[in-house]
């Protein structure tokens, strides 16, 4: 590892003097950083490159040394794949419902907790607790709660609705045709809204009391303060929350497997990728799906990184 850092520094040495000086000053930090930079380079960026490379070939089966380069054919073929269409639809339904409702609930809870309620610490912990559970555990529990059986075998939440007389709420949950992903979003919202609350709460606490006071002096109503002062100041927090929730929703895999197993009606790109790679050994198609997932996440993350970077420089 130590030997590897040499060639890197050599490149800098050939440049102008100021670089040399700063290198002399920072050689320790560069040396300390290089192991993780190299590991990151190989295991993250190296493999992203390798994956894209495979996605441009026709590698199928375990005997793949004779794979041919076929360009973007895999990418084009997938766009015609009816299963991929279901994947895209499911991802859209899940992402919009999950991100939207989680943000709204998180903000709502944060505002409630921020309004000087008694036993604030207790409620904060209660709402944050689901975060400590893994998606697999959440999935198993909600699989029971969202049991879609009817008649005498009704159980879980449907049974609760039946007992308290809210019959109109009884539904098929994740087995609802076309909109089944809304059922999957319910446990995800349950799990992540507490975390989003924590983000917003930190944001709310960061708003100086003086600003609110000033608004009140100018005759703003409480509602007006929220609309015109507090919410605009929470924008950066909301942006972070959206990016975090978006990458979770685009990569969702374990939650669906735990609730519903592998079934096409609740398929998402990550499950399709897993199945086509390891059940069918279609490495090329699997790599193509992985690249599509990467691109979709990048659409959210890269603009965010650019914005934060710019801010930090200023």
């Amino acid at each position: 590892m130590r030997g590897d850092s040499h060639p890197v520094s050599l490149i800098f040495w050939t440049k102008e003097g100021s670089v040399i000086k700063s290198l002399q000053r920072h050689w320790l930090s560069i040396a300390l950083l290089s192991p993780s930079l190299i590991l990151l380079g190989v295991f993250v960026y190296g493999f992203i490159g390798l994956n894209i490379n495979i996605s441009l070939t026709d590698e199928v089966g375990l005997n793949n040394n004779d794979a041919n380069f076929i360009g973007l054919e895999n990418y084009i073929k997938l766009l015609d794949d009816p299963r991929f269409h279901i994947d895209i639809w499911n991802t859209i339904v899940f992402s919009f419902s999950f991100i939207g409702i989680t943000l709204a609930l998180g903000l709502g809870l944060a505002i409630l907790i921020d309004s000087k309620i008694p036993a604030e610490g207790f409620f904060r912990s209660v709402y944050l607790l689901p975060m400590a559970v893994s998606f697999i555990v959440t999935g198993v529990v909600w699989r029971w709660l969202m049991n879609p059986a009817t008649g005498e075998r009704t159980s879980g939440l449907n049974l609760l609705f039946d007992v308290v007389g809210l019959d109109f709420l009884i539904n098929q949950w994740h087995l609802t045709p076309t909109w089944g992903m809304l059922g999957i979003a319910v446990p995800a919202i349950w799990q992540m809204s507490g975390y989003t609350m924590a983000l917003f709460l930190a944001g709310l606490r960061g708003i100086p009391e003086e600003v609110k006071e000033a608004a009140r002096m100018d005759g703003a109503s409480e509602l007006g303060i929220y609309r015109r002062v507090i919410l605009p100041m929470l924008k950066p927090v909301a942006l972070s929350a959206v990016v975090i929730l978006a990458h979770i929703s685009l990569k969702v895999f374990d939650l669906i497997i735990a609730i519903a197993g592998k079934q096409i009606a609740l398929d998402v790109p990550a499950i399709y990728m897993w199945q086509t790679t390891f059940d069918a050994y279609n490495f090329a198609r699997g790599a193509t799906l992985a690249t599509y997932i990467l691109i979709s996440v990048a659409i959210f993350v890269i603009p965010y990184l650019i914005v934060t970077n710019r801010k930090e420089k200023v």
């Binding site: 295991f43 493999f47 390798l50 994956n51 495979i54 199928v60 089966g61 375990l62 005997n63 793949n64 040394n65 009816p82 299963r83 279901i86 893994s134 998606f135 697999i136 699989r143 049991n147 879609p148 059986a149 009817t150 008649g151 005498e152 075998r153 098929q172 994740h174 087995l175 045709p177 895999f253 374990d254 497997i257 519903a260 197993g261 592998k262 079934q263 096409i264 009606a265 398929d267 897993w274 199945q275 086509t276 390891f278 059940d279 069918a280 050994y281 279609n282």
Partner: protein, 436 residues
Amino acid sequence: MHLEKKKTLKALAIAATIPFVLTACASGSTDTSSSSDSNSGDSGSTSSDTAQIEVFSWWTGGGEEAGLNALVEVFNAEYPDIEFENGAVAGGAGTNARAVLATRLEANDPPASFQGHAGLELLDYITAGQIEDLSFLYDEMGWRDVMPQELLDLITVDGGIYSVPVNIHRANVMWANPSVLDEYNLDMPSTWDEFFAAAEVLQAGGVIPLALGEQWTQLHLFETVMLGELGTDAYNGLWDGSTDWASADVTSALETFNRIYDYTNSDAASLAWQDASQLVISGDAAFNIMGDWAEGYFRVDNELVEQEGYTWAPSPGTGGTFQFLSDSFTLPVGAPDRDSTIAWLKVAGSAEGQDAFNVQKGSIPARNDADQSIYPPYLQEAMDDWSSNAGAPSLTHGTAASNAFKAEIETALGLFLGTRDVAAFQDALVAAAAAQ
């Protein structure tokens, strides 16, 4: 050298994804790490002349694990010098195990032997040159004389036999609740038309005619319906190309399959196969189609008595045909100690080993010279059928089609479940068959 390098890189790439998926599936990753440790380390310092074999399987619970342990006991008694290392990776039907295995094979680090369904599921390993042809062992041990010719034909790929089957399961079994049948005065249906007539009666009485579970159990139903409606020869022809997937017979079989969904439970997608069996046990449902591992679930797990708590028959239209699947062991190319692996395979193929294994696992031996008297009644009947019936390979359980073909059929079925569009389903099946 270049190829080697590329292979290693690719193995690393696959390996890098596995921890995530394994943790996501909350499975026994500790098993994996311990098994690979034992393989790479030269731990021979304490007992230098003890050979070791690591056998890779997905048998980690219930009768499966008990069966494996019984087989290992026979092995230890016969080869006390070879230490057996259990390299099992948890996860039903081997989904996790196969991902781990693929990585190790790519990295040229194969276990001594690994489990796989006999038949075309092994095709990928065979074409990649990762497992050895075992024909020599069949000749040496005389297995060709004690295993049915039909089995040997169906597990022969390009003239070679690449694994040793330790057991046989039957896929085409219809299970039923005898008290429900009595109450409605029904017999076990021998055709799907008879089933539909019975189903009307049952549905009118508020009983679910056919209990169904998650998607793979529906693929299982699909293959038994195809077998029942097309007949054995035409069904077997689906897999060797002699039956046209686009034919009118296939269309009408698919229509029958589609009609069955009018008589099933609405929550099928959220039930495991055991949950579906449970519906039959409780009398909520009358029938269920599942492989004969369900027999162990009825008899052992639920302590039911045959013909009182549960009864069975070949699934509609499949009387006289034994639709089978078989677990088997392989000899990987480059196995760490080839002779020890061959010793293991000899035990796996022996009458003694197969009897020890199958009584525990609840399946029948692949050999037809086993000791019938030690098996429970269902399995005795299955052994009679196995030696007298026509044979047909199972699709869901890896015998009939390559992994790629099976995956495409699975996807086509999944899409069909959303649309119930028979014509589109058939088109997708035709396309999948054409791509093979």
